[in-house]
Every structure is written in structure tokens, then in C-alpha cells.
Amino acid sequence: MTMTDDQVLSQEHRVFQQTMRRFFDKAVPESYVRDFYEGEAGFDPAMWRRLDAEFGLPGLAVPEEFGGSGAGLIELVLVMEEMGRCLLPSPFLGSAGLATSVLLRLGDTEVNTCLVPRLVSSGDFAALAVTVSSGDWSEDAVSVRAEGGGDDTFRLSGTVRFVLDGDLAPLLLVAARTTSGISLFEVEPDARGLDRQRARSLDPTRRLATVVMHDVDGRLVGHEGTAWPAIRRGLDDAALLLAAEQVGAAERCMDLSVEYARTRHQFGRPIGSFQAIKHKCADMLLRVESARSAVYAAAFALDQANPQASRAVDVAAAYSGDAFSWVAKEMIQVHGGIGFTWEHPAHWYFRRATSSAALFGSATARRRRIAAALGMPC
């Protein structure tokens, strides 16, 4: 159990953070999110273009040689915190966080020079279909089968649920099992035998889809049978980014609670002067700052290719998921009746927290991995 060395945000990081905060404060007010609840909209192409045009966010962590900005996971983490704070509905997590990360981690020149640049400054985004109906993000759980001919074209069959933006993404990547193991495939959005259905999300700002394939043509991405390590590492990256999003969202819940507790009066006093409320807010603070510390530590560990980075991700993900869920729930309690209305944003965060707790694997599953990593006999 070696601890990593001191790691802390640089001055540049703080400036970047403030830039993002200012942008999202203005570009994503409550009314913006409300539209996703009230209307049928589920994706805002204009916003996606702005993220690219103004900040190059889709390519933020893509090396410069492939068209990106060459930043690290820590910068992605800072972005995700801000997106979580305002609950931005966006393909950012699924595309920049997960799919791009998996592609890069394949370490394949052709992929890097052909596919990856498509996800930078093109307006395109990607979806990665890797779960199965049980929603387990593990190697064993990959159930789509790919049968191949002599060339790089395979025929894919199977169902994948809970695919982030899976019904919309112009670039659809599918993890499937061939005779030689897990491989990655690109599937054309309009391919024959492909059915993509948007799911009725608990959290309307998190777009999920079920992807059904019957003998769908898929083009091999990278080498056959060798995709799992890249997917596994990409899932680690995505889990960490999800944790960062949870930190930002949880902090916003805390801020809303503190603000309400300061101004709402009952029994002739602001409710924030009652210890029960006060202590709840203190516990929110403890969880938010603890989660943030774990997320930063894991991001630095991943960026430095620390051999224990994966365990650090498990720790950050398990903790942040639980922390956000707790904070979101207690926010409703602090708000009393008003927190229980459709109108108040409290439930948006509660829905996001509940939904996120199950994305990429539960806290319990992460703890199973931690126990194994600690060398406990299985």
C-alpha cells in the first residue's frame, strides 16, 4: 500500500476550472436543463458544437498529433465536475470520456489516425456498446457475437442495453466476442439489422439506448481478440470521469442546501441554525471534499500510469457514487416539501445520483475488485 506523492492542482488548472465554471454558469442555466425534462429534446447539437468550437473539449485529452489538445485525465476531471454541477445533458461522457478513451488505449496507429480524429472538431460523437442485459461491465458479460469472413468485416448479433447516446451517435462502436476473444467493431448507424431504441431514462438528462443487432455488418477496429485491455482501461477512465461528475453535482446539491438553510425560516429562525440541518450540511461537505480528493488522486495516478491507478479509480468511484447519492437525498430532506416538487431541481440531482450509481458497475462491484486487489483470497 504505497501512497502517491503530493498532488495538487496547479495555478493553470484553477484558471481552467474558473473558465469552465463561468461558461457553464451562463450557457447552462436551470432553464436549459428544464427543457430536457419538459420537452422531447434529448440532444442539443448546438451546445455540442460550442463545447468543441470554444474549448475543444471533445478532443481535450486526445494527443496533439491526432488533432486534440493533449491534456490529461485531470483536465477532463475538471470539465466533468463542472458538467456535473450544472447537469449538462451531453454525449461528452460517453464519447470523449469512454469511446475516445478506449480507441486511444488500443494504441493502434490506424485507429489513432483515422477514427480518433473523427471525434475531434467534427461535430461527431461516438457510443460504445459494451454492456449486456444484466448491465455488468465485465469481460465475461460481453455477449454480442461476431462471426467473421476473411477480411475485416464481421457479422454481429446480440443486444446491448444501457448504451450512452446509443440511439443517436454517428459513430457506433460495439464490443463483441469472436473466436479469438473480445474485439471492437464499428457499425454503420444505418446498417441493416441494426435497431437502436432510446430508453425511458430515470434521468432524462442521461440518454440511454438499447442496441439490438441481427447479423449486422461490423468493421473490425484494431486487432481481433485483443480489445479487452483497452476497453477495461477505457472503462476505468470513464468511471473516474463519472465520479468527477458526481463530485460536481454533489457540491451543487450542498450549495443549494446551504443556501436554502440560510434563508428558510421555521420556528422563527433560519433552519440552518438548527443542529440537525447544520450537521447534515457539514456531512455533505465532508463527503464532497473527500470524494473530490479521491478523484483527483486517481486522476493523477492514471496520468502518471501508476500501477495502482486502477484501484484508485475503484476507490474514487465507489466513494463518489455513494457520496452523491447521500448528498442528493439529504438535499431533498433539507428542502422539505419544496424539494419534493417537480419544479425544484432537487429531483434532477436525485435522479442523476440514482442513475449514476449503477452506471459502469455498482459501488458493491467496485468493492469486490478492491478486496481482490488487497490480496484477499477469493
Binding site: 448491465g135 431514462s201 442521461r206 416538487t341 449503477a358
Partner: protein
């Protein structure tokens, strides 16, 4: 047509009666197609009315069954066991809350007028207690009723009023004297809804449903005879009413929660989670809590039925059940895993304080509904924080 029920054999009789009426393989209201629920409930209320099972403990002169509160509770239990409702969704306000309170505090004229109308479904009632600035702090409410000749004039705003959109009358806790002390100077005023001075605005809840409302009074009027109990005694009358609600809820809640727990076991079995040691421990913990609270509830019930004062345990019931149910909903959602991200099937409806309808499916939508609504369990009717204050101050004697 109303049949006679005998107290001595009431439980057996009513159980047999219900069993005879229900369709074969009856699984509960929750198993009906969503669109059929209203029709079933309407028809079922008629059945109960015809059988003399509405207002069972009310005097026969007001259209009631002439039995005691004990049989009323037995009936509630047997209906819950049979997974059928005790009336229409708005009936509890009239039948379980206002009715008994009228019997205790009402004038002869009030009883003779209102009680039969409640049973016949001619008057639907709703409750006007909470206000926007007096959530957990009823003592500070500011809706006023001012007497002027034959009428009271009511001004103010109530909130969290269920069924207001269908109600004919509202019972309002209003300030009727300038005296500012918290619990004095209030009166319990019955106000007709169908007048220009009363406006109802539905509140959409976090689940998307509209069960609660805001009710605005702008020079609303009601006749001076529509004060229940003495002028200035409103707080006492309101407390009477709430105690009737509590004893009814205490009797039926454990049964509903047992039925819900069985649905949870079915979920575990369907998902093949029963061999997971962690899940087994969580399920056993939930069962332990359920079982312990059911025992606590029975102890309270037995004390009351022995005629003794409800002990210090009674104050704990609402607090304990609300937190149990909140935790159970979270457990169910955790067991669903990633399925909880997507609403499959019908979404569980809003039922304050209680589980989804018995017989509800075990698909994600039903449990998501339960999860969303369970967040109100620790808020509605006094937050858990207030409940703990009350326990500590009134039961344990800790200083305010």
C-alpha cells in the same frame, strides 16, 4: 340493502365476505392494468357502501354501521390483507379523519348533515393545515378567518393538500384571534370549495404526478355554523383528527409493508440474487426491521385496545416506518442494478406513507415510483427532524 355485522364474529365474517366478492386469482389493485384501476375502485367503493362497510363505527343514525372502532380497525386490516382499498382515494380524509372528529366535536346539526353525505360520496373532503411558511411548524400558520355577521371570511394559503382538485369541502386550521401565541387562537373551519374565493393550483411532484395542491383563499366565505368545535379550540380539534389518522395508519401499514417485502423477495428470486451473501444480509436486515416495527406497532395497538393510554412507543411509529420505507426503497433500487437507470413498466403511483399497490409488478418502474415517493415519507406530516424533537422533548423530557 345494508347488511348487519356482528362484532363477535366480525373478522371471520368480513374476511369471508371479501373473499367471495373478489375475482379468482385476485392479486391486488397493483396487478390491474393502469387504466382499469379507477373503475375498479369506484365499483369496489359501491360494493363496500352497499354492504354497510363504510363508516362501520359510526352510529347507525348517521348511516354508519353502529359497531366500534375496534371493528373499524379489523375491517381496515382485512381489506389490506385482501389487497383491496377501503374506499376512493379521497375517502380517508372524510371517513378516517373528519368523520370521527365530527363525531367527537361536532354539533348535532353538523353530524346529521355531513356524516351521511361523506358515506354516500356526496361530499369529498380535503385538508388545509400546512402553509408555505409553516411546513413543520404548524404553530406559526397565518391563514385567518374573521367573523362578520353570519359568515366567516377566510384569507390565506394552504399547501400540500391532496385531493383538493376533486374535493367539495376543505377543513381549514385558521387563526381566528389576534393572539399570536403559537397554538392558541386557532379554529377549525369547514369551507366549501365551490366558490370564487377558493382557488386550487395543483403541485406537480418530483415523480411528475399531481397529487398535492396549493389552495388559495381570497375572501372565501363559510357559514358561521361551519366551525367545528369551539372557536379558538382549533388546535385541539386538529390534534384529535391527526390521532385518528395515526391509529388507522398504524394498523394497516405493517400489512402493506409485508406485502411489499414479499414483492422484494420475488425481485431477488427473479434476478437470481438469493445466493449473494451481501444481498442475503441486506434482505435479512430489512426483514428484521420490518418485523421489529410490526411488533412495536402491535404493542401500541394492544395498549390502546386495552383502554390504556398509548405509551411512549406510539410517538415513534411514524418516524420509524418512514425511515424503514425510505431504506427499503433504496435497497430495491440497488438490487435492480443498472435496470434502475431505465423506467420499465408502469411507474408506481403516489400513495403517501405507504407502499405501491399490492400486486404491483416488480419491474423497475414500480420500484422507481416507490423510491421517488419514499423521499416524502420522512417529510410529510412532520419531518423526521421534528419527530425526533418531539420524542426527545415530550417523551424523554429534554429541554426545548
Amino acid at each position: 340493502m345494508s347488511r348487519e355485522w356482528r362484532a363477535s364474529t366480525f373478522r371471520e365474517d368480513v374476511r369471508a365476505f371479501i373473499a367471495r366478492l373478489l375475482p379468482r386469482g385476485w392479486k391486488g389493485v397493483g396487478a390491474l392494468p393502469v387504466g382499469d384501476v379507477d373503475a375498479f375502485v369506484t365499483q369496489w367503493r359501491d360494493t363496500l357502501a352497499t354492504a354497510g362497510l363504510l363508516g362501520l363505527s359510526w352510529p347507525r343514525e348517521y348511516g354508519g354501521g353502529g359497531l366500534s372502532h375496534a371493528e373499524e380497525i379489523v375491517l381496515a386490516e382485512e381489506l389490506a390483507r385482501a389487497k383491496v382499498p377501503g374506499g376512493a382515494p379521497w375517502d380517508p380524509m372524510g371517513m378516517q379523519m373528519l368523520g370521527p372528529t365530527l363525531l367527537e366535536w361536532g354539533s348535532e346539526a353538523q353530524k346529521a348533515h355531513f356524516l351521511p353525505r361523506i358515506l354516500r360520496g356526496e361530499d369529498r373532503w380535503c385538508q388545509g393545515f400546512s402553509e408555505p411558511d409553516s411546513g413543520s411548524d404548524l404553530g406559526s400558520l397565518s391563514t385567518r378567518a374573521v367573523a362578520d355577521g353570519e359568515f366567516w371570511h377566510v384569507d390565506g394559503q394552504k399547501v400540500w393538500t391532496s385531493s383538493a382538485q376533486v374535493a367539495d369541502w376543505i377543513f381549514v386550521l385558521a387563526r381566528t384571534s389576534r393572539e399570536e401565541s403559537a397554538h392558541h387562537g386557532m379554529s377549525f373551519v369547514l369551507v366549501p370549495m365551490d366558490q370564487p374565493g377558493v382557488e386550487v393550483r395543483p403541485i406537480t411532484m418530483l415523480s411528475g404526478e399531481r397529487e398535492f395542491n396549493e389552495v388559495f383563499f381570497t375572501d372565501a366565505v363559510t357559514h358561521r355554523e361551519n366551525v367545528l368545535g369551539p372557536v379558538g379550540a382549533g388546535w385541539k380539534v386538529a390534534m384529535t383528527l391527526l390521532s385518528y389518522e395515526r391509529s388507522h395508519v398504524a394498523a394497516t401499514l405493517p400489512i402493506q409493508y409485508e406485502q411489499e417485502f414479499e414483492r422484494l423477495l420475488a425481485l431477488v428470486e427473479r434476478r437470481g440474487l438469493g445466493r449473494d451473501a451481501l444481498v442475503r444480509d441486506q434482505i435479512a436486515q430489512a426483514y428484521t426491521q420490518l418485523s421489529v416495527l410490526a411488533s412495536l406497532g402491535r404493542r401500541v395497538k394492544a395498549q390502546i385496545s386495552q383502554g390504556g393510554p398509548p405509551g411512549r412507543e406510539s410517538q415513534l411509529i411514524k418516524l420509524a416506518w418512514s425511515e424503514y420505507h425510505r431504506d427499503l426503497a433504496e435497497l430495491a433500487i440497488n438490487l435492480l442494478g443498472p435496470e434502475a437507470m431505465v423506467v420499465e413498466g408502469r411507474q408506481g403511483p403516489f400513495l403517501p406513507y405507504t407502499a405501491d399497490y399490492p400486486g404491483a409488478p416488480i419491474s423497475s418502474g414500480a420500484w422507481i415510483g416507490t423510491l421517488l415517493h419514499s423521499r416524502s415519507d420522512t417529510l410529510v406530516g412532520g419531518t423526521s427532524e421534528i419527530q425526533r424533537n418531539i420524542c426527545a422533548e415530550r417523551v424523554l423530557g429534554l429541554p426545548r
